[in-house]
């Protein structure tokens, strides 16, 4: 006899995928309200709750309130296990300078209760959507801090990831830029992030809705949704907390000003800095 949970598995036809939150509790509340207005009940966060923004403890009650299921990001793993650095995967001294500032602030202001909660998050979540197997991870299925940019993630490499996971849909975040690619009967999604804008000169952030789509080869389609939020309020909080002016400029202008050296040329050329 099927358990009630199984019945729910069968019914699931849509889900919201939310990328890195980076302590942007204002955007998180707005994005989840947007998903709820659309009637989406299943919300997943792909990890990296802290970094960059103010008051890291504020995101947790919102996630719990909306019953968001969360995958552990590299940031969450580091904070949860009381590590010395974020293990973001940056290699340039300038990127690492800002990463260190941000990590120290977030670490000091995340309470022990939530550090333990972060430590115990799963590194992957698998579920069924319209009969298709969906695999959620933070960076890539094989490494939490692997950057999967559109211009550096070739089809043969994705095929290898699909073969290794056995999934029909793989979704990740970590880079900060959303993209998707259909590959034969598979769908790969980078859900983007909601912690900061997408380096496109607008202040909006975005999340991704995946939906059962029997007419598509992969059986699932993905739609990236942009959401405006009170970014001025977030910027004001960041100022009060003395966070770096570079971080605040990104929230207010939509252009990335730090942690740029990791971008491939094709993605970086689209930004201002």
């Amino acid at each position: 006899m099927a358990a009630p949970g199984d019945a729910k598995e069968r019914e699931r036809a849509r889900a919201a995928l939310i990328g890195g939150v980076y302590s942007n509790h204002v955007a998180l509340a707005e994005v989840l309200a947007d998903a709820r207005r659309r009637g989406i009940e299943e919300c997943y966060c792909l990890g990296d709750l802290g970094a960059f923004g103010p008051h890291p403890d504020r995101v947790f009650p919102i996630l719990l309130d909306y019953r968001v299921r969360v995958v552990q990001g590299n940031y969450d793993h580091s904070i949860g296990n009381r590590r010395d650095d974020c293990a973001c995967g940056y290699t340039d001294p300038r990127d690492n300078h800002f990463a260190r500032l941000s990590y120290r602030y977030t670490f000091d202001r995340t309470s022990d209760r939530w550090k333990d909660w972060l430590r115990d998050l799963p590194v992957r979540l698998d579920f069924s959507l319209g009969g298709k197997r969906v695999h959620l991870c933070h960076g890539s299925p094989r490494r939490t801090n692997e950057f999967l940019w559109e211009s550096t993630t070739p089809d043969p490499f994705l095929r290898k990831l699909f073969a290794a996971t056995g999934a029909d849909v793989i979704a990740c975040t970590h880079t900060g830029l959303h993209w998707q690619r259909e590959l034969e009967d598979k769908l790969f999604v980078n859900a983007g992030v909601i912690g900061r804008p997408e380096n496109d000169g607008t202040t909006e952030v975005g999340y991704t809705i995946i939906e059962a789509a029997p007419e598509r080869a992969a059986g699932v389609r993905a739609e990236h949704v942009r959401v405006a939020y009170d970014h001025a309020r977030l910027a004001a909080e960041m100022r009060e907390e003395n966070l770096p002016a570079e971080f605040i400029a990104t929230i207010e202008t939509g252009w990335w000003t730090s942690c740029l050296e990791i971008l491939p040329g094709k993605e970086r050329a689209r930004g201002r800095f």
Binding site: T91, N96, W149, S151, T152, P156, G265, F273
Partner: protein, 298 residues
């Protein structure tokens, strides 16, 4: 002494020594002593590369690098770049002196037609003609800067690489100098990668080789993240076949046969150049590589 044995990861990165050991310059710190006369490794053709590309596709390779020698002396380079870009991102390592306006324009067209990134890494050794040309030869600085400007004009963001031939105390002054010079020449947001010196090839003659104790022991690998080393997830292909990495192409210990799949075997880190990679991480990749050295206090 027993060498540390590195277990292989997945093959993510594939290098091609398209330019062999032939180069229009003869830099006095070159780790494989490339020059206009060094034909130890010949140029490669697209036909020679194809079988390896087929194997790389099956193995799910993530990125490709073209080096030499100087890739721009390869007549087929444009065709090779266009072909590989259909399969994945490509980085071309060049001294920049042969990059003309017309060539930059053609590469911009090739890059615009594919989803994958095309990167150029231009190596120089000083932010002015005096310091650069002392190592790379008269006139090479101006020619490289013209190459950089041509690439920037076509929308590329070339990664400027420099081997650290100066003393570490001068880091700020030299790196700041690079940025000022590049901006003054119209490259508004320069990307810069500083490489450690590899004390082999011409550089060994210039400043002396590695000290006896500068090698990796099995104990040093305990708790070390093997993914930091390029040979964990990369291989180099030359006209001869498959080599463990771009550094050891002239070292018989670096030769691993003619099959990519069969080259992914545990590798003994016995060459002394391995010690530099141990300290600095994957020095050959596009990512800056100072992190491991910073952490080690170097």
């Amino acid at each position: 002494m027993t060498a540390a044995l590195l277990p292989p990861g997945e093959l993510d990165t594939l290098w091609f020594q398209v330019g062999g050991t032939l180069c229009n310059l003869a830099c006095e710190h070159c780790f494989i002593s490339c020059s206009p006369e060094n034909e130890s490794l010949p140029l490669m053709t697209l036909a020679e590369i194809e079988p390896y590309l087929a194997e790389a596709e099956a193995l799910g390779v993530k990125e490709y690098y073209l080096t030499g020698g100087e890739p721009f002396i390869v007549k087929e380079l444009e065709a090779i770049v266009a072909r590989i870009l259909r399969q994945g991102p490509v980085s071309v390592l060049t001294n920049g002196t042969l990059v003309t306006q017309a060539r930059a324009a053609r590469y911009a067209q090739i890059a615009a037609a594919v989803p994958y990134t095309l990167e150029f890494r231009v190596s120089i050794d000083g932010f002015d003609a005096a310091s650069n040309d002392a190592i790379r030869g008269a006139g090479s600085f101006e020619k490289a800067m013209r190459g950089v400007a041509a690439l920037v004009e076509r929308g590329f963001l070339p990664i400027i690489t420099a081997t650290q031939v100066w003393e570490p105390e001068r880091d700020g002054e030299v790196v700041g100098g690079f940025f000022r010079e590049l901006r003054a020449r119209g490259y508004a947001r320069p990307r810069l990668k500083i490489l450690p010196r590899l004390k082999i090839g011409a550089e060994e003659k210039r400043t002396g080789g590695y000290a006896a104790e500068e090698r990796i022991t099995p104990e040093m690998m305990e708790g070390y993240d093997a993914a930091q080393l390029l040979c964990h997830s990369a291989r180099m292909v030359s006209r001869r076949g498959v080599h463990v990495c771009p550094i050891l192409v002239e070292d018989p210990r670096g030769f691993l046969g003619r099959s990519l799949a069969r080259s992914m075997v545990p590798y003994p880190l016995e060459a002394q150049a391995c010690y530099t990679c141990y300290l600095y991480g994957a020095i050959c990749s596009n990512a800056s590589s100072r992190v491991a050295a910073d952490a080690a206090g170097y």
